[in-house]
């Protein structure tokens, strides 16, 4: 017997204790963005829902136009418009139950308003009279998050806490394509998947992080594919197809509610306006690209579907426009009133009780203000 024979036959085996953890195949997104409008799937869509989405889209577009106009009139410090992305904004608000929570980013004031928050309160941050203008607990909407992706772990933690308490609550977190490069995006998705937390992550891929196109942001096949690495399903949807976005979001919310864990959704859309009113988009993109996306407008897509199926006529279109004009007029009027400001507020709410040092600084500012008033009186 040779030494080799004594050792026995070589049998290759996997490393000890190794086993496949999750089958990746069911987690993979579709090859193309899922669409409903203009496809056979549209026939199954609830006409009432489509009409509701349409009315909200028209309101949403008018809201974006009005808010942008308010920046030019000096009534808003800045406005990051969601023009062209209204389908995502509106569907995000409509897919949730009242008890659920929304975690918006700064571009999502439309979703916040569609959820029921007073538009003046939603725009407080951008007007600049305070940071968060609304009570987060009133409509279960977290403060608008400016540091990208940082609101995602909050959504995971809140949904985790709700589940620990036995409450039936789903959290929907909104983020853009640029934000998916942030570490907090990774950490939030990982925590959510490990804990099987009832959270839905909605990525609006609008093509640009200010000026940087997606190609410079990621080498992933799609952003939805990133889900697979965490062990959660990824879904790819046409972000300008309101019926499709609503359906995919609704599925993910139901899946989460039923204990199925988180879902990552990439909605493919386009930021028609510049990053904000302070940005110049002509420096990084051409008109042809914008025009191609204008032809894929979320309102037009839905309007065509509804009119072709006889669910909407000229009078209906006109009525939606009139409602939107009335909303814009109310918003204009209210935003044209100066916000009441009290500099003493600056020292409140830093802590439950101001520290002795803050009390001293508050007294200093009060004295400065009184001196200003006296000076004014003398003059």
């Amino acid at each position: 017997m040779t030494v080799m024979e004594q050792r026995g036959a070589y049998r290759p085996s996997p490393p000890p204790a190794w086993q496949p953890r999750t089958d990746p195949a069911p987690l993979l997104p579709d090859a193309e963005p899922y669409r409903v409008l203009g496809t056979e799937a549209a026939a199954k869509a609830d006409p009432e829902l489509l009409r509701r989405l349409y009315a909200q889209l028209v309101l949403g577009r008018r809201y974006n136009v009005q808010a942008t106009a308010l920046t030019k009139q000096g009534r808003l410090a800045v406005y990051p418009s969601s023009t062209g992305q209204e389908a995502c904004e509106v569907a995000a608000a409509l897919c949730l139950q009242e008890r659920d929570w929304l975690f918006p980013s700064y571009r999502d004031t439309l979703a916040v308003v569609a959820r029921g928050v007073d538009p003046v309160e939603a725009l407080t941050l951008l007007r600049g009279d305070w940071h968060t203008g609304y009570d987060p607990y009133e409509h279960r909407v977290a403060p608008l998050s400016t540091p990208l992706a940082t609101q995602l772990p909050h959504a995971v933690g809140l949904a985790h806490a709700a589940r620990l308490k036995g409450d039936d609550v789903v959290a929907l977190a909104m983020i853009g394509d640029g934000g998916t490069s942030e570490g907090d995006f990774h950490e939030a998705l990982n925590f959510a998947a490990v804990w099987q937390t009832p959270v839905v992550f909605l990525v609006q891929n609008n093509g640009f992080a200010i000026s940087v196109p997606l190609a410079k942001q990621t080498a992933a096949p799609t952003l939805a594919h990133k889900a697979v690495g965490y062990g959660m399903p990824g879904r790819l949807v046409d972000g300008n197809d309101a019926a499709a976005v609503h359906e995919v979001l609704g599925d993910a919310v139901r899946h989460a509610r039923a204990g199925g864990g988180p879902t990552l959704i990439e909605a493919v859309t386009y930021r028609i306006d510049a990053h904000t009113n302070a940005d110049d988009a002509t420096r990084y993109r051409g008109d042809a690209e914008v025009e191609a996306w204008r032809a894929h407008d979320p309102i037009q897509l839905l309007e065509r579907e509804l009119t072709e199926r006889g669910l909407l006529d000229e009078a209906g279109i006109e009525a939606a426009r009139e409602d939107a004009e009335a909303m814009a007029a109310r918003l204009r009027e209210r935003m044209n009133q100066d916000a009441p400001l009290d500099p003493m507020d600056l020292f409140e709410h830093v802590y439950a009780e101001p520290t002795p040092q803050l009390r001293e600084q508050q007294a200093q500012l009060r004295a400065e203000l009184e001196a200003e008033t006296e000076e004014g009186a003398v003059r």
């Binding site: 968060t132 009570d135 540091p147 809140l158 907090d184 939030a188 925590f191 040092q357």
Partner: protein
Amino acid sequence: MTTVALKPATMAQALTRALRDAMADDPAVHVLGEDVGTLGGVFRITDGLAKEFGDDRCTDTPLAEAGILGTAVGMAMYGLRPVVEMQFDAFAYPAFEQLASHVAKMRNRTRGRMPLPITIRVPYGGGIGGVEHHSDSSEAYYMATPGLHVVTPATVADAYGLLRAAIASDDPVVFLEPKRLYWSKDSWNPDDPQTVEPIGRAVVRRTGTSATLITYGPSVSVCLEAAEAARAEGWDLEVVDLRSLVPFDDETVCASVRRTGRAVVVHEAGSFSGPGGEIAARVTERCFHYLEAPVLRVAGFDIPYPPPMLERHHLPGVDRILDAVARLQWEAES
């Protein structure tokens, strides 16, 4: 009259007991962090909590500090009272964005509607022979962030009392644990540990008349040792343990300096833009006419924390403190 049974206990035991009692008293208190569950934490501060309260109350998280603190923010939004453990001072840096942008600001951003009662436990400081990234004194970063309370115990009793106060606070508290004191023993009554010190009060650990040593955390015991050694030089030193860096107890500190007329601030953190600069400025602004000499600082050098075999040269010791005391312009009196 009942006899109080004082027993020797370590700071680590007192911290564990504080967490346990807080969790028993309030079901909203949840502990989360790396290795805090099955292992009981690398310093064993959370030992036994997962067993007693279950994995949902004391949770091993994925290894991601921003995720831990960010998740805790969401939990606090929903009414829980999370206590997160950052494994080491320098490992807490990934969580800094969550801390600075959300934890510290949420109450203010929402006009008080969304307070975040989160306790962030951070083992800090050197003197344990740790290799790099295990011995930072990171308190200045936290102190410079409005909206946070920053506290650090120096005794076993304070470790319990301050941690209970931190968890009970409706404001976020960065709770800095001097890791080289984890195994220090004190006489403590574990049967009656309920004393919860209010956050924001310093304490005079040793009364004296010659000069005040203003210090906190791991440097308190060094200062007490220095004060004993100073007797041979004819100096009777007072030692003030700040306990709370934010809010800062100007009253106790300034009352002491006005009595003694001289002050030295002692800490492990570097001196440039360190806590001592702020403290010296505050004391000078408030006690100028009582001061016989400039307020001096005895601190770590302004270098990245040294490798373990050199750390004793970096850490403020008795000799460096006494050298500073000697420079407090005593000759003017003679």
